[in-house]
Amino acid sequence: GTQPKDEAPAAPAAPAASDDGGETTSTPEDSGKDYKIVLLLPGPINDQGWNATAYEGLQMVEKDLGIKMEYIESVQQADFEAVFTDYGSRGYDLVFAHGTQFYDAAVNVGPQFPDTFYMVINSEEGQEPNVGGIGVREWEGGYIAGIIAAMNTDTKKMGAIGSFPFPVIAGTLDAFEAAAQRIDPEIQVTKTYVNSWEDIQKGKETALAMAEAGSDVIFCSANEVGLGSIEASKTKGVKAVGYISPQNEVAPGTVLSSVTYNTPGLFKGTVQQLIDGELKPEGVSLGWADGVLDMQWTDDIGQDVKDAVYEAIEELKAGKIENPYKGE
């Protein structure tokens, strides 16, 4: 089963000028390509979403940098500390932990193994000496999805499905709504949660119910559940916005376009920093401005939509838009 996790990838860490030699962990001198790097995934690797894109990152690192990364999947929350401890004591250079929920454990274990760097994806914090975080402003993706959706609705009703009310998910749905209402304040967005990452039938039925109640664009942030919502949109002849993975091909004609995550690039960037000795124990937060998010367009999309999207992206890059989610 899939574990609780936060949803979203990020991209090549900002180049960020390295300060003094402080606490960097890997030693550039002996970069004889013999790095020991591992990727910890909270769920199964073929979840068609969060974990699967991480795996793509692993493959990219291997292809582009020639460094073989290991991975382990479905790591249970109860085992986080044990796993960190194990890799620390075995002298790994870099441990990727693919989800914020790893952060506490990383902070607890980190200090015992100063030679290992723990990089927690989706964490916006880091801690001396060796825990870093790369947060992804996932809501920025939701925002763009909201614009695409809003410009394709006739009924002025749309549906947004989330897995769990985690901040990233809730923020994404909220941003989706905010963007849509910016386009047209009359638009109503129905938001629901399914408490699952994998119950594809529930995703489908939820989207069907939304369509039956008048929504004509569906958006979903919940891994496999999203495939269910796309299937429902196809059945009902309404539209969907693809998310995370390039999903245009899942249902051509139904998926308007996909907002995708460049997770692979994010891994590559971090490994590059390791090689360059530039890893820093701090948290960064990445979004459109950092190339973490991307668009997969279909031919059905008109130029007006593209223009509106690019305009919004520019605003996001400029930091002119705030995350509508403020926590509970």
Partner: protein, 310 residues
């Protein structure tokens, strides 16, 4: 909320209920065969998962979703054969065997998916069922919309109910199954091969659970994703008990569960202020209430759960 409870809403609700109840109905009917013969089958979940996976594999390699469905049935039977071997022949506790089968099914479906298709970010899609409108019947107002514009597998599920009823209560085969489940020793003394009957019933349960799984992957979708059964097999186990081990009872139980689930989704959308988690609980609580209020003292097959030893 205002315009929600009208006739279109009702139609939509009931068709959703049917879709949601069909996988449960398939598996629960299967579970009923197994339980009627005295074998508790907690492994339905795993058997469904195997069916869901095998259906996609079959359709992928042959291009035919019907062949896919047959492959699903056969694969369900294959894993059921293992279950029968360990529970009926070797007589390992049926509950723990079921738990092990579920664990195994999660593992092998995921393993073989990766072995065949690699690790994908977008799932492999295959040919799958599309809804078939039954001529004339589908034109009946309301009912036609709800009942007769479904995929072929839905019709099969519902036809299986009267067929099972006939088998259980009108044929000697059914009598033998019931005898084995009530009093295996008595069955033995009249020459009914207890272990063979149980094995056959477990195989049937695997076949039907496999069908239920393929309904998910081929009837509702055209793809397999890990763990896509998501607990429906456990609900089916409950539906067997809830339905008092009778085909019509199982049908009712599955439908009630389907309605509850469909309703839950719609209430959540209507924007009521009940936390959504409580709505998600609703079908489960309803089952408890129904089991307590309606079913009452259950009369399970007497020998249920006990391996037969001379």
């Amino acid at each position: 909320m205002k315009d929600i409870f009208n006739i279109t809403f009702l139609i939509a609700l009931l068709s959703a209920s049917i879709r949601l109840s069909v996988p449960i109905l398939f598996a629960a009917l299967g579970g009923m065969y197994s339980e009627k013969s005295g074998v508790v089958n907690i492994g339905l979940e795993g058997m469904m998962l195997v069916g869901a996976f095998a259906g996609v594999v079959g359709s992928y390699f042959t291009g035919s979703y019907w062949i896919g469905t047959i492959v699903a049935v056969l694969s369900g039977m294959l894993i059921a054969a293992l279950f029968a071997l360990i529970t009926v022949k070797i007589k390992i506790n049926q509950i723990v065997s079921g738990v092990a089968i579920n664990l195994l099914a999660v593992g092998i479906t995921s393993f073989f998916y990766r072995a065949l298709f690699g690790i994908t970010t977008v799932p492999i899609t295959v040919n799958a069922f599309s809804p078939v409108s039954i001529p004339i019947l589908s034109d009946i107002p309301i009912i036609g919309e709800i009942l007769f514009k479904q995929t072929a597998l839905v019709y099969i599920a519902f036809i299986l109910v009267p067929i099972s009823h006939y088998i259980f209560y009108k044929t000697s085969l059914g009598l033998n199954i019931r005898t084995v489940g009530e009093h295996p020793m008595a069955a033995d003394t009249v020459g009914i091969p207890v272990e063979k009957v149980r094995t056959a019933c477990v195989l049937i349960s695997g076949a039907l659970a496999g069908l239920g799984g393929s309904f998910l992957s081929l009837g509702q979708f055209n793809m397999f994703v890990d763990n896509m059964v998501s607990g429906r097999g456990f609900i089916a186990v409950a539906a067997v008990i809830f339905g008092k081990w009778s085909p019509t009872g199982v049908l009712m139980a599955s439908l009630i569960f389907g309605v509850a689930d469909a309703l839950q989704i719609r209430i959540q959308m209507s924007g009521v202020s009940i936390p959504y988690q409580f709505l998600l609980m609703f079908p489960y609580i309803l089952t408890v209430v129904a089991v307590t209020g309606i079913v009452g003292r259950t009369t399970s097959p007497k020998a249920l759960g006990t391996p037969y030893e001379k």
